[in-house]
Point group: C2
Chain length 717, copies 2
């Protein structure tokens, strides 16, 4: 039986063991949020009110509860805290009974000697900060606390801690089932599974396995069972998300979960052995093609960052809402960015159900995590806990050491002890699941994070057409927040035109990464001139984000199978940003860019390789036609392509694709059209229609009118 307690929290003086006036605490949650609520911080997202948290950043805190529970004579009593952020002690009646560093390992403490009404406390130490480091993420480079809360280029510095997952008292009888975990191996044909349950219990355990139609396929005392004619689990777009349910029962205790059967390997991309060519001959790009159940698939999705500045407050409902939107956008993979750490278990359950493959990084990002004895010992404990918690999830695709650790701003290498340790632990605890040291590896790429590269003037169409990476695992096209969202964060008088005021800066409209991110005012001016009002300005950035993401994702798909993955930066955000590469404005507002991605990721679709975004009167427009198919079915269609400008259609051509095999694309002809001279037209659309419904595409492009350009005829064909 579990007994949830009523907790109160307070600031704490560890030297004198003095507890200051207390306030109600939500568990799970984050103590700083409770404090802000109790002490009237107001809407902390508005303007620069987040700075109020600075004053309490280095506090000690204490959670207290006078415990309440019922138990039978022969039961032991335990205090279970599933996750405590980050360094903490557990005290019973003022005496320390447990101490730990790390937020991903449950604390399970025998407190059988406790009586009703006894004082149970969890003391939270100040956040870990490497001595001598500046007040940035650098402070996080000797701890396993996810570094995002130290501040990043899209979220403020807002350091949080506390009982971020459930905490409760638990009574345990003789037949208590401490844990049960299923493991399996598949035969070569992938139609038979050997399932093995590993339970930790002092009493006999019975197991059941039920299929998705509710049929019991096994029930018995043996922890090992062979299942024939199994259904495989597939990611979104490749098949069914078939999950078997299991229960393990000992006396009155039952644990339950799901199993999805799959094999997943990371294999070399097509053509990888040909690069580089000739002598002296170096090595090839790292393997980054997902082979799921023997089928090579294109990975398409987004980078998941923490869904809230207060991760402890995120509920299953919020996860579900965001993840269903990801599935609805035709994604099949999410990269759980290392800087955010690991999500609550519900997140992974939902990914199993929705078919979203999980690229799970450990809690390292953009730092050099030097392998000191203390750091390595904490990392080992925390990593083992994480691996054991997640390894049975069908959606778990592969592990990764963390974000951009091999790049200059981090400075780690294959020789870094922390990464060799993680590789070793994954090998030991989760044999057969791929492990990447970091992203990007050789051949893979991150960036850019703009619609147009200010250094060379190339737009996202040009940048990706010229690139030939094995996987684009981060790339961003920013847009401003929707106007109604901006009103929630920027004082009325500062809304337009945007200037680097405290509110805009705190919300990363400016100076996030160079002076212009993420509003990129100069880019807006270059393509559209000076915007007249906020609505128009936001609209321009939405246009660029929508067409930009569509261009980048479709280009990556066209590069398949040389390129095997496209994952934009990023999906969601932990508070309302003024401008960001994300396509979900906090907490759940779809920006227009979301629909650009959704369109670009349809399993079967017409697509066009368009050389660039902005076109002039008289310029020769050309677009190479493609039929993209990353579905497991063969398709064929007839495509019609034309420009629609000022309500008129210019030159439609048709292309009969013939059969396009499963998970294969086909290149068609290039359409050539000389653009007309016009005077009153700021945009045009290139459309590709499909006769058999494979999926139309349209690209909204910028038009620079020039009545003096060579005269061309507009035809309705």
């Amino acid at each position: 039986m579990r007994f949830f307690q009523s907790w109160r929290a307070a600031q704490y003086d560890p030297e004198n063991k003095i507890t200051y006036p207390d306030f109600p605490a939500k568990v799970p949650g984050n103590i700083q949020q409770d404090y802000a609520e109790a002490f009237d911080f107001g809407d902390y997202i508005f303007a620069d009110r987040v700075k109020q948290f600075d004053a309490i950043e280095d506090n000690w805190w204490v959670y207290s509860a006078n415990i309440d529970f019922e138990r039978k004579e022969d039961e032991t009593l335990w205090f279970v805290a599933e996750g405590v952020d980050y360094i903490f002690d557990i005290l019973l009646n003022g005496k320390t009974i447990y101490s730990y560093e790390g937020m991903f390992t449950p604390a399970k403490v025998d407190i059988s000697e406790a009586k009703k009404g006894d004082l149970l406390q969890v003391v939270i130490h100040p956040h870990p900060k490497r001595e001598g480091a500046p007040a940035t993420r650098d402070q996080a480079d000797q701890s396993c606390k996810p570094p995002f809360s130290y501040g990043w280029d899209w979220n403020p510095r807002l350091m949080v801690s506390g009982l971020w997952r459930d905490a409760y008292l638990e009574t345990r009888g003789a037949a208590f089932l401490r844990s049960c975990e299923p493991f399996y191996t598949l035969n070569e044909a992938r139609d038979t599974a050997q399932v093995r349950f590993v339970a930790d219990c002092d009493a006999p355990v019975t197991y059941t396995l039920t299929d998705m139609e509710g049929r019991v396929v096994y029930s018995g005392n043996s922890p090992e069972v062979t299942l024939n004619n199994i259904n495989l689990w597939w990611c979104n777009g490749q098949g069914e998300q078939y999950l078997y349910s299991w229960t393990a029962t000992a006396g009155e205790n039952t644990l339950s979960g799901k199993i999805g059967f799959k094999t997943l390997r990371l294999v070399l991309n097509a053509g990888a052995y040909d690069e580089p060519f000739g002598f002296p001959k170096s090595r090839y790009p790292a393997p980054i093609t997902i082979e799921l159940n023997g089928r090579k698939i294109f990975g398409k999705g987004s980078n998941w960052v923490n869904a809230d500045m207060f991760p402890g407050t995120v509920t299953e409902e919020r996860y579900r809402e965001l993840l269903e939107m990801a599935k609805d956008a035709n994604m099949n993979i999410l990269r759980i960015w290392g800087g955010s750490g690991i999500n609550k278990p519900e997140f992974y359950d939902i990914c199993d159900e929705l078919g979203l493959l999980v690229w799970q990084e450990f809690m390292l990002a953009c730092n050099n995590y030097v392998g000191t004895p203390h750091y390595l010992s904490v990392l080992e404990r925390e990593a083992v806990s994480v691996i054991r918690q997640l390894r049975s999830h069908a959606s778990l695709a592969f592990w990764c050491g963390g974000n951009e650790l091999f790049n200059g701003w981090s400075g780690m290498t294959e020789q870094s002890e922390a990464l060799r340790l993680l590789n070793k632990l994954c090998y030991e605890e989760d044999f057969g699941r791929p492990f990447l040291y970091t992203s990007p590896l050789c051949g893979m790429a991150h960036g850019g994070y703009f619609f147009m590269n200010p250094e060379d003037g190339r737009d996202v169409f040009e940048i990706f057409a010229a690139a030939s990476n094995s996987a684009y695992t981060e790339f961003g096209v920013p847009s401003m927040a929707p106007v109604e969202q901006l009103r929630k964060i920027i004082p009325e008088g500062e809304l337009f035109p945007p200037t680097p005021t405290a509110a805009w800066l705190e919300h990363h409209g400016f100076n996030a990464w160079g002076p212009h991110s993420w509003v990129w005012y100069p880019t807006i001016r270059k393509y559209f001139g000076e915007p007249k009002n906020l609505e128009e300005m936001v609209g321009y950035t939405d246009w660029m984000q929508t067409v930009g993401y569509k261009a980048a994702f479709e280009e990556a798909r066209r590069q398949w199978p040389h390129c095997s993955m496209s994952i934009n930066w990023c999906y969601c955000e932990p508070w309302i940003t003024a401008a960001n590469n994300a396509v979900i404005s906090y907490p759940n507002i779809k920006k227009p860019g979301y629909y650009g991605i959704k369109e670009a990721l349809r399993p079967v679709m017409a697509s066009a390789r368009i050389p660039h975004f902005s076109w002039k009167s008289g310029e020769l427009f050309s677009a190479q036609l493609w039929l993209l198919n990353d579905s497991p079915e063969a398709v064929s269609d007839i495509l019609t392509a034309y420009i629609e400008i000022n309500g008129e259609v210019i030159k439609d051509i048709t292309w009969e694709t013939g059969e396009v095999a499963p998970n294969t694309n086909k290149m068609g002809p290039t359409v050539n059209i000389t653009l007309p001279r016009l005077s009153d037209c700021d945009e045009f659309t290139f459309r590709v229609k499909t006769k058999n419904g494979a999926g139309d595409s349209s690209y909204r492009l910028k038009f620079i009118p020039d009545p003096a350009a060579p005269k061309v005829r507009i035809l309705n064909m």
Copy 2:
């Protein structure tokens, strides 16, 4: 006490336990060599006589000895076989008492029940061969037997096995010292060492430490000692090879060894963070710069392959002879190529003494070693044995999974279980020592293996000047064997002109790797025309190898610190080849190419970047001058450069280098000379003389005379 036995060997029928007529066996050795001697194979190196071994390739064998020893009442008796190649059983009086797969783990078997005269036998199983694999190294891809003996492009297929290391009876009293190993850590200033001995003994152990001057710096019972003001161990060319001697004594038992104190890391090469530039941004080259005792150094050396087709027969004297030549050639590192496996312990002792850093690969090469349960379990046991045997050597620089495993012909990746296992084992057993998955990694390069690339006509001068790799860890320029050596392997009538007869083929004069390797007849003809006789022909290949290796090594040094290592393929050879990239003809004949390398690796030297090898009358010759300094001292000199042709000197120029810092090069001016028109001259020499003795250089280049070329004046200046 150790008792060495007198062994005889025989073919064996395992089913009927029948032993065929026996013959004397050398231990350590290889049973096939004993058999060949006993059954008159003759000089197996000559012509294609090596094929005689085919008939016995799949034999079972047995070693037998009627044991002889003395022991005291209270002593136990052990049979110790330090290495048995490859699958074997140990039998006492016909009963199997021990079975094992793997040649790098000593067998230590308690045979205390044995009496004098008892029959001790070691049954050797047939060589491991993956079922269904062709009769090539492919057969070795599921075992830990080094694959070279299955045949390679410079050595014949000649599969060997047996008691390749010492085997003896050992009596053990109560104070027997089973093992003792020293470990140490240095403080940050590297002047104080914490030494810790780990001994396996049931009696008290006393330890001594003695410095190189013979002073006892520690003597006592504590296994932990702090040494102040230590002397560091340096590799050849960077400082002293300072070694402390230790002994561990328990009763009458003593073990002893050496300690050399050093730190060694692999760090990123200079400028690695700048590559590749711009977005989308991939990762950087792998770290391959050696930082020894905090000093970044240029790694220069050669690839060590097995010194004999019968590795069991190699003695300390043969190792020493070859290794002293390597030191004398100014090398500071040897890459122990994975295909050859691991050498005997004496090899590493000598490397410690001579300052030759050891890049030690595991026994994987050019195959896809799939991680089956059986293979991984053997690999784990064998790798742990290897690591524990070598980790205390001062010369041991870093581990590497094996040769070219990430290249197309192997097909392994970072996800291969075997490599992840090796990484994990090295982390666990030898924390802090770098580990490479394979060579080459991203940025590093192997090849070419020719003086001129037949695909594009570029010679080795051009190839390396155009390359920009982080390390050249294999590259070859072949030459033919010295004439007197050729006479030992090729029948008289076939010596000239070389044609692909059985003898030439078996010795890899032709068809080693494409039709022309390693004689490269077309290249000889291209530069020199048809050779008149064998001596002339060999001389041409020596010329190319000498000047080619000099060019390639010096170019790599000029690319420092972007490039941090240059290791040619290869140093020695296991039998006499007809032509090879090696510079030592088996067993110990220095080819002229050896001196080319020795010259190119002098710590301080004049060098010239010369565009190519072959020059015509009237052509503009240019050479960029350099002073190369990879010594730990600053130098300066005055260089004089000129062409010497037909005994005349053309245009000498001087360059005062000014100070050139330790481990740094300096680029000087480019010399430009229009070549004269001559009719009777086939070569010329470009010379750079140094006034202060930094080290002259000369380059022997090909001249194509043309009296019709523009007239130029020869000047003596």
